[in-house]
């Protein structure tokens, strides 16, 4: 077999081609992985300093991730609490509008033929000195059939009670009205005067039939249920601090757990907040019932603010952990530069950003991030469409 002679120039040309191909392959690998240095044999010094860099990034991230996660849970909870507060305020508006639509309580007795006639002589069973009690708004007043008492003068005794009015006229029934819709309780005292007059206790009988009140009660209960849905869905990263069975949040900032913080959960559904349903109990049929609902709502608002304060109390601890991050960066070359970032207010930070933009433009620096960091950020930032 004849041997092909290769001249020295050809040998070196082939060698150069092989080298170029190797470089090309390496460069293709680097651009596909996004890493400048692939293995220690590539460039030992650069490789280890790059790993050191990523270890620092990892350490910074691990501290911040814990703070961020905890702050996200408390912040998300505060967001849900704000929505609940908004709902409670809407409930209050509903109750207040119902207050305007209350219907008065009315007690209707038997028909009276002549209003100016003496009760004892015209009413069967009535004698001088018999009486009945009216309990209204927590006060009991005795109405007595005195000597020569007429239906008209008896009505006047009832009208003298603050908040009540009584009317009687020939051929019409004796009617007692409470404008605020509260209960009017009537009981016989001496003998059975109330029974003789045909008067019986009225417990807001006329109010529950009001359409406006019925509508307000239904709307109120729908909004109330929305509070339970909100508190049930208030979980962030699987932690719900305000549900019926609230979780508690424990964050340990170091491996042995010596620096840990626990945020206790607080039940913030309608039971926890003591906001009761109104429709089935017809609570809005009286002014007192509506006022009681408003009192409940005011107490719930106070409780919600306290819950917010309790859940955000941990923010100071998160802050102190961030100072630790600052010291980690600051320690690297102490004295070479001054770090004041955490003390900047927004305005100073904006001015600094503008100054930095000009400095970057003048210096012509085009990159401040390493390739590996960029690849990582791109994969996170666009990873979940």
């Amino acid at each position: 077999m004849a041997e092909i002679a290769i001249r020295s120039q050809a040998t070196s040309a082939l060698f150069a081609l092989a080298q170029a191909q190797k470089t090309l392959k390496l460069s293709a690998e680097r651009s596909s992985t996004g890493l400048r240095i692939l293995s220690p044999s590539d460039d030992a010094v650069a490789f280890f300093s790059a790993s050191e860099l990523s270890a620092r990034a990892t350490r910074l991230l691990s501290i911040k991730d814990k703070i961020t996660e905890a702050a996200a849970i408390t912040g998300g909870t505060v967001n849900s609490l704000n929505s609940i507060i908004n709902l409670v305020n809407q409930l209050k508006a509903k109750a207040q509008s119902a207050l305007a639509s209350t219907v008065s309580t009315t007690v209707v007795g038997d028909v009276v033929t002549t209003a100016s006639a003496d009760i004892t002589t015209t009413l069967a069973g009535a004698v001088d000195g018999d009486s009945f009690d009216i309990t209204y708004s927590g006060t009991t007043t005795t109405i007595t059939n005195n000597a020569a008492e007429t239906f008209t003068s008896l009505a006047a005794q009832i009208t003298a009670i603050s908040g009540l009015s009584a009317t009687v006229s020939d051929g019409n029934a004796l009617t007692i009205t409470a404008d605020d819709g509260s209960d009017v309780t009537i009981t016989n005292n001496v003998n059975a005067l109330a029974t003789d007059l045909g008067l019986s206790t009225s417990t807001n009988g006329t109010n529950a039939s009001s359409t406006a009140i019925e509508t307000a009660e239904t709307a109120y209960d729908v909004l109330r249920t929305a509070i339970n849905t909100l508190s049930g869905d208030a979980g962030v990263h699987g932690v719900n601090l305000i549900s019926v069975n609230p979780d508690s949040l424990t964050v340990s900032f170091n491996e042995d757990g010596s620096t840990a913080i626990t945020v206790a959960g607080i039940v913030s559904d309608t039971n926890g907040l003591s906001i009761t349903a109104v429709d089935s109990a017809n609570s809005f049929s009286t002014q007192a019932g509506i006022t009681a609902a408003i009192v409940e709502l005011d107490a719930a608002l106070v409780t919600l603010q306290e819950t917010k304060a309790s859940i955000t109390a941990s923010d100071a601890v998160f802050d102190s952990r961030l100072s630790f991050t600052q010291s980690l960066i600051g320690l690297l070359d102490e004295g070479a530069f001054k770090l004041v970032g955490a003390d900047l207010d927004a305005e100073a930070a904006l001015a600094l950003a503008t100054q930095t933009r000009l400095d970057l433009t003048l210096s012509g620096i085009g990159l401040i991030l390493k390739d590996s960091a960029l690849t990582s950020l791109l994969s996170i930032g666009f990873g979940a469409p």
């Binding site: 620092r56 702050a71 000009l358 400095d359 990159l367 401040i368 991030l369 930032g381």
Partner: protein, 141 residues
């Protein structure tokens, strides 16, 4: 291959084809876009927190890159960027704990400014740009 798989493959191909400079601009633009979306809908707290987290990760990488002084970035700029990164840490925590759109304004502004500086733009976003003028106004009608 599902739509999402196809999209991911496309994104990967796009990433490997990008120059680092374009990649960096893309990352800043992404942070700005996520933060603006979050500011528009604070009620979607998950997305709000995710935007803040992405931005914090970007700035943590800036912290770690710059705290290892390789001499590529002059001292003054390095100090400014690290100071901004600490402000961003603080502002991120503030924004997470108190979900309000206005907390994001400063973060959006800083990212825009730095991104523009890296692209060599000397005008601020508030200054008029020639290409922002209404072109049709100069055309014969």
């Amino acid at each position: 291959m599902t739509y999402i798989q196809a999209l991911r493959s496309y994104q990967r191909a796009q990433q490997s084809a990008m120059s680092p400079r374009i990649m960096e601009k893309t990352v800043f633009a992404r942070a700005v876009s996520l933060l603006m979306q979050a500011a528009d809908n604070v009620d979607d707290y998950q997305a709000y927190a995710a935007a803040l987290k992405f931005n914090q990760r970007l700035w943590t990488y800036i912290q770690s890159s710059l705290s290892e002084n390789s001499g590529e970035v002059p001292g003054g700029i390095r100090t400014s960027l690290l100071n901004l990164s600490l402000f961003i840490d603080q502002q991120t925590l503030r924004a997470l704990a108190d979900p309000e759109a206005h907390h994001l304004d400063a973060l959006i502004h800083i990212n825009r400014e730095i991104s523009r500086g890296l692209a060599g733009e000397s005008t601020s976003r508030n200054e008029p740009l020639i290409d922002a003028l209404p072109v049709h106004g100069f055309l014969p009608s």
